[in-house]
Amino acid sequence: MLSQQIKQILGEQGDIIELDLLIKGTKPAKIIAVDGLVNLRAVGVEVVEPLTLHGITWFAAQKEESDINEIVRNILSGDAALIVDGEEKATIFDSKGFSLRGISEPGQENVIKGPKDSFIEALRTNTALIRRRLNTPDLKFTDLKLGKEAQTNATVVYLEGKAEPEKVAEVLRRLEKISEQFIKSTSSVEESLKDNPWSIFPQVMFTERPDKLCANIAEGKIGILVDGYPIAFIVPAVFNMLFQSGEDYSQNYAHGSYVRLLRYAGAFLSLIIPAFYVAITTFHHEMLPTNLMLSIIKSKQAVSFTTFLEVFALLVAFEILIEAGIRLPKSIGQAVSIIGGLVVGDAAVSAKLISPAIVVVVAATGICGFVVSNSDLANSFRITRILLLVSAGFAGLYGLSLGLIFMLYYLCRTTSLGAPYMTAYKDGDSTIRDGLLRLPRK
């Protein structure tokens, strides 16, 4: 019997519910569901009661399924399966009732003049948020399952007619190729979507905001939502997208442009400040005004380490402080970071382990780095600045220039789903309109 087979596959488990009933008082049937995942009240009122009394059910979302593996997956997803004795198919009722957190404000992408809702862990709720904003028949959701063993529900969302069909097909192909047993983290999905998984620069963007996803879909991009993750992935993600923020578009274009330029400037400074400092203090003293040079020499008098080592060590210490601040509980994390930074920094300067100028350099670097709105890009810059520091440490400004040239070359070679990474800067108009600046829409 089908129900016996299902019981064999599931085994004896404490949270599997089996409910025996008689359809219209005569025909035996069984309902199998998972306690905690299923909405038992809905099942009772809309399935069991009408079946028992009238032989029919008026549950809205139901389907017939004969594949036993599919039936088991549905049960484990939170659906209830009705198996009538003697029949080789089951009726699946979409009666999920597991606890979910409510739609709340985004954690990282807050804006002042914009919607305050964000994605949650439930896939259907997320798709509904998108459907509400883009209520057009061209909006398409293609469902698929990820992972070989635990098939996690996912959906690819795009606008038909805007998104290129080849790119949509390519996204589906890459997602279906995920060979992991189950989706452990977002990187499982992200790395499958990247053209070059070894690249340190992000080729997939993620967002917590439905409005941002809808804006990108409306431009022809493709969104990917995964059940259990309160974010959406967007591809192709090119370089200028990583500098955009929702706030830019909700403000006056002048302020939006100004803030965007600040981001570019901050990102560039965070990359080169440490390397530039090492280059001019170690190789190119002639660039320093004489009095500044004297001031730096005097402050560094008793410090035993070379400038390069000082900067490198302090940058690493800064990274450790950031990581520690993330792991600590929110209530004490910030206080510990500030006090740790202040006290440790002050003690290190007093002990002549580092010079005060280096503290200023690294602090300025850190502050400039926080200006970058996309955390993946900010993380890439944290690695890149160390590489530029090393190249400057070897060959001064020459090495720094070489490093920057190589970085630019690398960025130009990078693609995201086939789209060149630097495509926004391909001509003057696109560079100014939505690349470097945010000009008013035509």
Binding site: T290, I297, G399, Y409
Partner: protein, 357 residues
């Protein structure tokens, strides 16, 4: 990735070859550098002397009396480069000559061959092109000693950046000296001299040194320097001292040069100068219109002195030939080979008018 690295290496080699780079920049920890403020170049017979003013770094932390104190050191050699190398070897630390903000060239060094001093400075590719240059009446080394003894090194900055305040000199940066030495065969360089005042030696601006064909030929005194500044459109902001304890402030001056021709012959050069002045000290004379006449006379005399100096030294450092070239290029081409003789002979009329407010 491999292809990217190979491409970058090829690009690097191409850049290195095309830029004629033979070596990487040299690494020197900044704490090992001893900054130099002034480089002075002198010449005695066949030997060159290089003087430097530097600041001692050791002992600065412990509140040593030598903190912030400048020192002079010098050495001689067959050439400025050889002298500098000897000096570098004597230093316990790395001598950071790239930080030198002032170059002083002694009278003998400039009189012998200014080009060799410029060459020495230019060949050292770490020296700043924006450093101020002065020619010293006397020895550059002595000026360095006076500056250090009297702790008045900063005064050079005033003579450089703020010299326009008294219009008795102006500033010249090293790249300007390089440019002038290439473009013009006659030009001026701000000059310094050591004077005694109240029993103390001080370094003061002393007009300009006149260079012709790469050699120092003479000086334009301080009392003619303002006239030179007016003719060459440099800063003229200064005080005009009049009789009866009066004084006026010269705020700016417009000069117009006219060339009068008879056919292709230059018969006369007319210099029309308009001054904007205002009274700063009325003195004993209540009649302001007399001030205008008097200040016109003062400026007339100064301009005349500078023109006379240019004729006496036999070179057109006032730039009149250059103006002529710009205004009358065809005529200039015809008279260019004879310009030096023409300039000596042609009369220059000066008209000065002023507006007193």
């Amino acid at each position: 990735m491999k292809q990217s690295i190979i491409t970058v290496i090829i690009v690097f080699i191409v850049i290195a070859v095309m830029s004629n780079a033979r070596y990487f920049p040299r690494m020197t920890e900044i704490t090992l550098a001893e900054p130099v403020f002034v480089i002075g170049i002198d010449r005695h017979d066949n030997s060159a002397r290089v003087s430097i003013v530097y600041e001692k770094i050791e002992g600065a932390d412990e509140g040593d009396n030598n903190a912030n104190k400048k020192f002079v050191d010098y050495t001689e050699g067959s050439s400025p480069a050889a002298a500098l190398e000897t000096l570098k070897k004597r230093f316990p630390r790395e001598m950071a000559i790239s930080t030198a903000e002032y170059f002083l060239i002694g009278e003998e060094a400039a009189g012998g061959n200014l080009e060799s001093a410029i060459d020495f400075l230019a060949k050292n590719n770490t020296l700043r092109l924006t450093s101020s240059v002065f020619i010293v009446r006397g020895e550059a080394g002595k000026v360095c000693e006076v500056l250090v003894e009297t702790r008045t090194l900063d005064i050079l900055r005033n003579y450089g950046e703020y010299s326009g305040i008294n219009a008795i000199s102006s500033s010249m940066e090293f790249y300007e000296l390089l440019s002038e030495s290439v473009k013009n065969n006659a030009f001026t360089v701000p000059a310094l001299v050591i004077k005694e005042q109240n029993g103390e030696k001080i370094v003061v601006p002393s007009g300009y040194a006149v260079i012709k064909d790469g050699v120092l030929v003479g000086f334009l005194e301080a009392d003619a320097a303002r006239g030179y500044n007016i003719i060459t459109n440099k800063s003229v902001y200064s005080t005009i001292e009049l009789t009866n304890s009066a004084a006026t402030r010269l705020e700016n001056a417009n000069r117009k040069i006219e060339f009068r021709w008879s056919g292709d012959n230059l018969t006369c050069i007319v210099l029309n100068i308009n001054l904007n002045t205002r009274v700063i000290d009325s003195g004993n004379n209540p009649f302001f219109f007399e001030y205008e006449k008097e200040q016109n006379r003062v400026i007339f005399a100064e301009v005349q002195k500078s023109i006379a100096a240019s004729k006496r030294l036999g070179c057109d450092f006032l730039g009149i030939g250059e103006l002529l070239r710009m205004r009358h290029p065809l005529r200039w081409e015809r008279i260019r080979p004879y310009w030096s003789e023409i300039y000596m002979a042609v009369p220059i009329k000066i008209n000065v008018e002023s507006r007193l407010s």
